[in-house]
C-alpha cells in the first residue's frame, strides 16, 4: 500500500470492493477430498476386477480414491503397501498369517504400527487365539447356530443361522473388549494411525479394528504453570483419553457428554467437546460444535492454535478463551455450565465462553475462604492496573503534572536524574525493552543457565546502569514493580496483553500527559466492550448490567453461591439450595 493509496483511503473512506488475492485452489488434498465422492463408485468398480499391476507409481493416484475394503486379501495388501509406503516406512508392520476358524484356514494379515501398540496384547490376545489351534477355533461346528426354536404339533421347527465367518471371528475368536468391524479404509487407517491394529481376512470385505493401543505417554504430573497450595495436584497430559478420564473422575455423573470432533484434514486431530447435558445451554454447545466442525485447516497440533481459531475477535489481544492444565478447574467450569474442549496431544483444556473476570481468577480461589480469595483478587486487580498504567503514568506525570507528585518525591526524582543524559521517555522505553529482553532470554535459554540470565540482568541493569548514571534509580524501581506485578496476573495471555498495552500507554502519556492516558484508556475500554466470547459480552456480569448479579469479580461466601452465572443462561440456574448448610438449621 503506497502513500497515495493510504491518503485516498483515509480521505475517501468509501468502501471499495476489497481484492483478496487468495491463491487459486491448487491444494491437491482439498480437490481430492471434493472429487472423491463423485468418483467412488467408478473407481471401486475398477478395482473390483483385481487384475491390476502393482506399479506403485501409477497406482498411487488411482488408489487414492478407494473407499471400501476389497474382498481379496492380495488386493488389500497391495493397496496398503502403496498407501503406507511399506517399502520405505520402517515402523508399519504387516503381519501375514493363516487364521484358523472352525478348522478351516483362511489367509489373513494384521496391520499395526510398531511403537503405538501393546506387543503383549497383539501376541497373546490377537495372534494366539487366531493362529494356534485351540478349542475355540478348532471346534467343528456342524451344528448350525440355532436362532429360535418353536414346537408345534411335536414338530420342532428350528430357525438356524448359517455359519458366518465375520461374526464367528468377532464373537468367538477375538478376546478383546474393543473390536469394531469396519468397511472403509478411511476408518481403518485412522484407527491404525492412532495405535489400533487391523485384522484383514481373505474373502471378507471388512476389517476388524482391534484396540491394542499401547504407546508411551507421559504420566500424570503435578501442574507446573498453575500451582496451588490447597487443591488437587493433577494436571492434564497429552493423551486425550487420560484427560477425559481425569474429568470424568471428578464429575462422576452420567450427564457429562464428551463428543469427539476431528479437526484438520491431514492430522485429523481428535477434539473432545465436553459439557453437562442437563446444565449447559444448548445453543452454546451447538455453537461450539458448529465452529469446530467448520474449521478448514490441514492440521491442528495444539490447543493454543485451536484457541485462536475459535475466537470471536481476532483483532484484539484480549484473551477470550480460558486455557487450563488443571482438571479440577475444567470440571468446575463444566459444572457451572460452560463447555470444555480437549485437544488430543495438548495438555491444556480450553474453556468457553470466558469473560474478563475469569482471567483474574486463579484455580485456588474456590478452595480457600472467600475473605482470602477476595484479598487476592484485590491484589490482582491492583497488579493488573499497575502493570498496565504505571510506566505510562510516570511518564505523564513527570512530563506534565509535576504538581501531582509530593514535593519530597519530586525533589528525590529530580536529584536522582541529575546525571542522567536521556529524556524520561527514552529512558523508560529503553528500560522496558531491556526488561522484556531479559524475560525472553530467561525463558529461552537452556534451563541450567537460566538463573545466570537473571543474575546478569539484575547486575547490569540494577547496579551498573545506575552507577554509570545512565538511568535513574527511581526508574529502575518503576520497571521492577511493573515486572513483578505482571507476574501476579494469573492468566498468561492477559499478562501478555498488559505488556503490549503498556507501551501504548507510555506513548500516549508522553503525547498528552494524563489526558493522553485518558484517551488510551477510553480506547481500551471501547475495545473491551467490543470483544465478545462466544457471543457473550466481555465485561459480563457488569456490562451490560441486568440488575441481578450472580457472581461477580469477588467471591461470595460459599453458602451464598446459589446461582450459576446469569450470562451462561444455563438450564439449571440454582447450584445449591437456598439453605445449603442444612445441618445448621434443620434440627433447631
Amino acid at each position: 500500500m503506497n502513500i497515495v493509496d493510504t491518503f485516498k483511503k483515509i480521505f475517501f473512506p468509501i468502501e471499495e470492493p476489497s481484492h483478496d488475492f487468495s491463491l487459486p485452489a491448487n491444494d491437491d488434498l482439498a480437490r481430492n477430498f471434493d472429487t472423491s465422492k463423485e468418483n467412488t463408485s467408478q473407481s471401486s468398480s475398477n478395482f473390483s476386477g483385481g487384475d491390476n499391476t502393482n506399479n506403485t507409481n501409477t497406482i498411487s493416484d488411482e488408489f487414492s480414491d478407494v473407499k471400501e475394503i476389497f474382498p481379496s486379501i492380495d488386493v488389500n495388501i497391495e493397496y496398503i503397501k502403496v498407501k503406507y509406503n511399506l517399502l520405505i516406512n520402517s515402523d508399519i508392520v504387516l503381519r501375514e498369517f493363516i487364521l484358523t476358524a472352525r478348522n478351516k484356514q483362511y489367509r489373513a494379515f494384521l496391520l499395526f504400527i510398531d511403537g503405538m501398540t501393546d506387543m503383549d496384547l497383539v501376541n497373546n490376545y490377537v495372534l494366539k487365539p487366531l493362529m494356534l489351534k485351540n478349542s475355540a477355533n478348532s471346534f467343528d461346528g456342524n451344528q448350525n447356530q440355532v436362532v429360535s426354536e418353536a414346537v408345534t404339533n411335536n414338530i420342532t421347527v428350528r430357525k438356524v443361522k448359517k455359519f458366518n465367518i465375520k461374526e464367528y471371528i468377532l464373537n468367538c475368536l477375538l478376546p478383546q473388549n474393543n473390536v469394531k468391524p469396519q468397511k472403509e479404509f478411511k476408518e481403518i487407517f485412522s484407527s491404525v494411525n492412532s495405535g489400533n491394529c487391523a485384522l484383514f481376512v481373505d474373502t471378507l470385505d471388512i476389517a476388524f479394528d482391534i484396540d491394542v493401543k499401547g504407546f508411551q505417554t507421559r504420566s500424570i504430573n503435578k501442574p507446573e504453570n498453575e500451582v496451588v497450595l490447597r487443591g488437587p495436584q493433577e494436571a492434564f497430559v497429552e493423551n486425550l483419553r487420560t484427560n477425559t478420564s481425569l474429568i470424568r473422575r471428578i464429575i462422576n455423573n452420567e450427564n457429562l457428554i464428551m463428543e469427539n470432533i476431528k479437526v484438520g484434514k491431514v492430522s485429523k486431530t481428535v477434539c473432545s467437546v465436553c459439557y453437562m447435558q442437563n446444565i449447559a445451554n444448548d445453543d452454546l454447545v451447538a455453537e461450539v460444535k458448529y465452529r469446530l466442525n467448520n474449521i478448514d485447516i490441514d492440521y491442528l497440533v495444539s490447543s493454543g492454535e485451536l484457541e485462536q481459531l475459535l475466537e470471536d475477535n481476532t483483532k484484539y489481544s484480549l484473551p477470550q478463551i480460558i486455557s487450563t492444565e488443571r482438571p479440577d478447574k475444567a470440571s468446575t467450569y463444566l459444572l457451572e455450565g460452560r463447555v470444555v474442549i480437549l485437544v488430543n496431544g495438548s495438555p491444556y483444556a480450553l474453556i468457553v465462553p470466558a469473560v474478563f473476570v475469569d482471567f483474574l481468577e486463579s484455580s485456588e480461589d474456590k478452595n480457600i475462604k472467600f475473605q482470602f480469595a477476595n484479598l487476592l483478587k484485590v491484589i490482582r486487580i491492583a497488579s493488573f492496573l499497575i502493570t498496565l498504567l504505571l510506566p505510562g503514568i510516570y511518564v505523564a506525570i513527570t512530563s506534565f503534572h509535576l504538581e501531582f507528585i509530593p514535593t519530597e518525591l519530586l525533589f528525590a526524582i529530580v536529584a536522582s536524574r541529575a546525571s542522567v543524559p536521556f529524556s524520561i521517555i527514552f529512558e523508560i522505553i529503553i528500560m522496558e525493552l531491556s526488561f522484556e529482553l531479559i524475560r525472553e532470554a530467561g525463558l529461552r535459554v537452556p534451563s541450567p543457565i537460566g538463573p545466570t540470565i537473571g543474575i546478569i540482568g539484575a547486575l547490569i541493569i540494577g547496579q551498573s546502569a545506575v552507577e554509570a548514571g545512565i538511568v535513574s534509580p527511581i526508574l529502575i524501581i518503576i520497571v521492577a514493580i511493573t515486572g513483578i506485578t505482571s507476574f501476579a496476573i494469573p492468566d498468561y495471555y492477559l499478562a501478555f496483553h498488559c505488556r503490549i498495552w503498556r507501551f501504548v500507554y507510555i506513548i500516549f502519556g508522553y503525547l498528552a500527559g494524563l489526558l493522553g492516558i485518558a484517551f488510551a484508556s477510553f480506547i481500551h475500554i471501547l475495545i473491551a466492550t467490543k470483544v465478545q466470547s462466544f457471543g457473550i459480552s466481555y465485561l459480563e456480569p457488569y456490562i451490560p448490567s441486568k440488575g441481578r448479579l450472580s457472581n461477580g469479580l469477588f467471591n461470595k461466601p460459599i453458602w451464598k453461591r446459589e446461582k450459576r452465572e446469569d450470562f451462561l443462561d444455563t438450564k439449571k440456574i440454582d447450584k445449591q439450595e437456598h439453605i445449603s448448610m442444612k445441618w445448621k438449621y434443620e434440627n433447631k
Binding site: L410, A418, I507, Y510
Partner: protein, 416 residues
C-alpha cells in the same frame, strides 16, 4: 474487513506520527529544566512596587553518597519589580531555568506591604494555575526576604517539608491557625467575616521578650517574642494577623488566637495557665479540649448586635504540686470556677478587641446575623461590619475538669 483494519491501522499510524512530530515541535516542560519555588516573599520595594523574593530549592545530585538523601539546600533570591509576573519573568531570564510555582508551600507578606492591601497580589497568584491556593499565608513582622532567609528549619532537611508541617503545630498549641490563601481570599470577598492570616517573625535576641505583658502567662507572646535561645536566629509563627477587607489592621498574640479558635470552633487542643484558686500568684496548667461545639448566636436589638457564645470545655490538669487532692470536689469546683473566670475575661477582652479596636469580624458572626434578613440587598444595606463595632458580647463558659493524668492526689488523700 481486511480493508477496514488496514484503514484504521493506517489512520492510527499516521495520527501517531503527526502527534509525535508535533509534540517535538512544541516541547515539554522537562522535569530537569525547572526551578522549584518553595516559598514566595513579598515586600514593599524601594524603587518599584514590590520586592519579590523566591526561595528556590536546589535538589542535591546525591553524588557518591549512596544513602539517597533527599536533602536539598535552598537559595533565596529577590528582585524589584512592578508585579509578581514581571518578577517571575525577570527570574526566568536570570536563572536559566524556568520558575515553577507548583510546589510553593507558603506565601510570606511583610507587615508593611499588608497594610497597603494584599488583594491584588493574591488574586494574581490565584489566577496563576501553578500556584496552590492551599499554600499557607504568613504575615511577617519583619521584611519577607529576611523571613525567607532565616527560615532554615531546625529539625528538617527539606525546607518544603518544614513549611508543610510547621503550620500544623497549631493543632496542638493553638497559638496560631493554619490558614490557606484560599480561606483568606474567601474571607476578603465575603460580607460576613473578616480575614485573618498567620503571624510570623524572625526570632532573635533583639525581638525577644519585648512588650510582653507583666503576667506570667507564656502564651501572651506574639511572633518573634518567644524567649528561645536558638543557635542562629530562626523564624517563628505565633499569633494571628487581622485584616479589615484586604488591609492589615492588627495582630493577636498566642493566647488571643486560642480564644479565636475557641469562639470559631476550630480548636483541637491547647494548654492554658490559669490562676490557682488556692494560692495567690500561683498558676495551674490545664490541657483543654472542646466538650461540645461552641454555640454562637446573634440577636439584633435595635439593629445593634447582641452576641452570645456558649462554650463547653473539658480540661485536664497538667501541673501538680504538693498538697493537692483532686478527689476533693470543692477544690475541683474551685479550679473550674477559676478557669471559667479566667477564660471568660480573656475571651470577652479578645472579642471587644476585635470589634472596638480592629473593627473586624474574624469569627464570622455575620453568618449568624444574616438570618434576620431575607435578601442580599437588605443585608448589604445593613452593613454588618459597621454595626459589629457596637456589638455587645455575652460569653457563657462551662469548664469541666475531668481528670489529671497519672497522679490524682499529693496530700495522701487526707479527705477520704
Amino acid at each position: 474487513m481486511n480493508y477496514k483494519v488496514r484503514k484504521v491501522f493506517a489512520i492510527f499510524i499516521l495520527t501517531l506520527l503527526i502527534l509525535i512530530a508535533s509534540t517535538k515541535y512544541y516541547g515539554i516542560r522537562g522535569i530537569d529544566n525547572l526551578a522549584y519555588v518553595v516559598a514566595i516573599g513579598i515586600d514593599v520595594g524601594t524603587d518599584e512596587n514590590l520586592l519579590l523574593s523566591l526561595q528556590i530549592s536546589l535538589p542535591n545530585s546525591g553524588e557518591s553518597s549512596s544513602s539517597s538523601s533527599q536533602s536539598s539546600s535552598v537559595v533565596v533570591e529577590s528582585v524589584e519589580c512592578s508585579s509578581i509576573n514581571t518578577g517571575i519573568t525577570l527570574f526566568n531570564s536570570y536563572l536559566g531555568k524556568e520558575i515553577n510555582l507548583s510546589h510553593c508551600k507558603v506565601l510570606v507578606i511583610s507587615e508593611e506591604f499588608a497594610t497597603q492591601g494584599v488583594s491584588e497580589v493574591l488574586y494574581t497568584l490565584t489566577n496563576e494555575i501553578q500556584f496552590r491556593t492551599t499554600s499557607n499565608i504568613i504575615i511577617s513582622k519583619c521584611d519577607a526576604k529576611s523571613y525567607l532567609e532565616y527560615s532554615a528549619p531546625l529539625l528538617d532537611k527539606v525546607s518544603a517539608r518544614y513549611y508543610e508541617i510547621a503550620p500544623t503545630s497549631s493543632e496542638y498549641t493553638g497559638f496560631t491557625e493554619s490558614i490557606t490563601c484560599n480561606e483568606f481570599l474567601s474571607a476578603i470577598s465575603s460580607n460576613f467575616s473578616s480575614p485573618v492570616a498567620i503571624l510570623g517573625s524572625i526570632n532573635s535576641e533583639a525581638t525577644q521578650g519585648k512588650s510582653v505583658s507583666s503576667s506570667d502567662v507564656t502564651s501572651y507572646y506574639t511572633a518573634g517574642q518567644t524567649p528561645i535561645s536558638p543557635k542562629n536566629d530562626g523564624v517563628e509563627t505565633m499569633g494571628l494577623a487581622i485584616f479589615n477587607k484586604d488591609k492589615l489592621v492588627g495582630e493577636l498574640n498566642g493566647f488571643e488566637s486560642i480564644c479565636h479558635l475557641i469562639i470559631s470552633n476550630k480548636l483541637k487542643n491547647a494548654q492554658i495557665r490559669v490562676p490557682s484558686p488556692v494560692k495567690e500568684l500561683d498558676f495551674i496548667d490545664l490541657y483543654i479540649e472542646f466538650d461540645d461545639d461552641t454555640q454562637n448566636s446573634v440577636y439584633l436589638v435595635n439593629s445593634t448586635p447582641y452576641i452570645t457564645s456558649n462554650i463547653k470545655i473539658t480540661a485536664k490538669i497538667q501541673s501538680m504540686n504538693n498538697n493537692i487532692n483532686l478527689k476533693d470536689d470543692e477544690l475541683v469546683r474551685k479550679i473550674e470556677t477559676s478557669a471559667e473566670a479566667f477564660l471568660k475575661e480573656n475571651i470577652v477582652n479578645y472579642l471587644y478587641k476585635t470589634s472596638k479596636e480592629f473593627d473586624a469580624d474574624i469569627d464570622s458572626f455575620g453568618l449568624y446575623a444574616s438570618k434576620y434578613f431575607s435578601t442580599n440587598d437588605e443585608w448589604e444595606n445593613y452593613n454588618w461590619i459597621h454595626h459589629y463595632k457596637d456589638a455587645y458580647f455575652n460569653v457563657n463558659i462551662d469548664v469541666n475538669l475531668r481528670s489529671s493524668y497519672l497522679l490524682t492526689s499529693t496530700d495522701g488523700g487526707s479527705s477520704d
